[in-house]
Symmetry: C2
Subunit: 168 residues, 2 copies
């Protein structure tokens, strides 16, 4: 988009499920460029959104590997490499580790899965599972930020009229 981009709270909620993040990003817009929006997103996400806001954003994601029709289009695209490389046994193992992870940490396993295969995702989940909860919370928030950045880029590269109607 060549002109400064105004983002509504609803636009931002497609990108990140935290209402606090969405309100702050909408208030910080219009953005002259994607780069400006990315800088604001990083600052707001890491410095202004509290732990409840982080948990709210995590809760907006389906568990990785989930293939139900209710999973939003962007999630499916982000997980396409993982889904295309999942065998029955790795999909089953991923589901088991997702449940184990949620039991330990209290939120869904967050990973920016773009371009990553199911074995890679599974290896990351197992590696991160041993983390202390506070360490894992920050790791999950960093992954959420990567996802947010990718989605903001998609939002900026889409048609001049932001297609909010197709989001859900």
């Amino acid at each position: 988009m060549a002109t400064p981009t105004t983002l509504s709270v609803e636009d931002v909620l497609r990108v990140n499920g935290s209402r606090r993040f969405a309100a702050a990003m909408a208030a910080a817009s219009p953005f002259a460029s994607l780069a400006d929006a990315l800088l604001a997103a990083r600052r707001i996400w890491l410095n202004e959104v509290d732990v409840n806001g982080w948990l709210e954003a995590f809760a907006a994601h389906p568990a990785i590997g989930t293939t139900s029709p209710s999973v939003p289009k962007w999630c499916k695209e982000e997980q396409s490499a993982a889904l295309s490389t999942a065998t029955d046994s790795t999909a089953q193992e991923l589901a088991e580790w997702n449940a184990k992870y949620r039991e330990k940490f209290g939120f869904v396993f967050m990973i920016c899965a773009s371009g990553r295969t199911t074995p890679e995702v599974l290896a990351d989940l197992k590696r991160r599972y041993v983390n202390r909860p506070i360490v894992e919370l920050e790791a999950a928030a960093r992954e959420e930020l990567k996802i947010t950045e990718l989605r903001l880029a998609k939002l900026f590269s889409s048609e001049p009229t932001v297609p909010s109607a197709t989001a859900k």
Copy 2:
């Protein structure tokens, strides 16, 4: 207590409001000594209690400086230095900063206040207020652990029959 001490979930909930922490501590008891209980508390609190459990424990505390009759006896004892040094103006300032803190971080300001005056508590609150939320979450959890340790020591030094009836 000379004999190994068995702690019930209710005993531990007087010390720390996280149900996950209480269940794990009760399961880990009996403890041969206070030192054993303190080691278990530290391991469980930092490694096994998730962020929701931390928030649950924080929520069991009144805001520091609160003098309502519903504040538990232990909280009053822990805050006795702060309460005795509070003037009207510092008490008012503390109340305002408590509200500001809760608005930013989403939980009550946690501090192990034993022996600390109101000006000291206020200075700490202002210093910590600038923290990123994830940094402050861990700082708050470390304060909660100190409070938990002090209360465990009280529990172990009290009468042979743990006086749970006087807790609330």
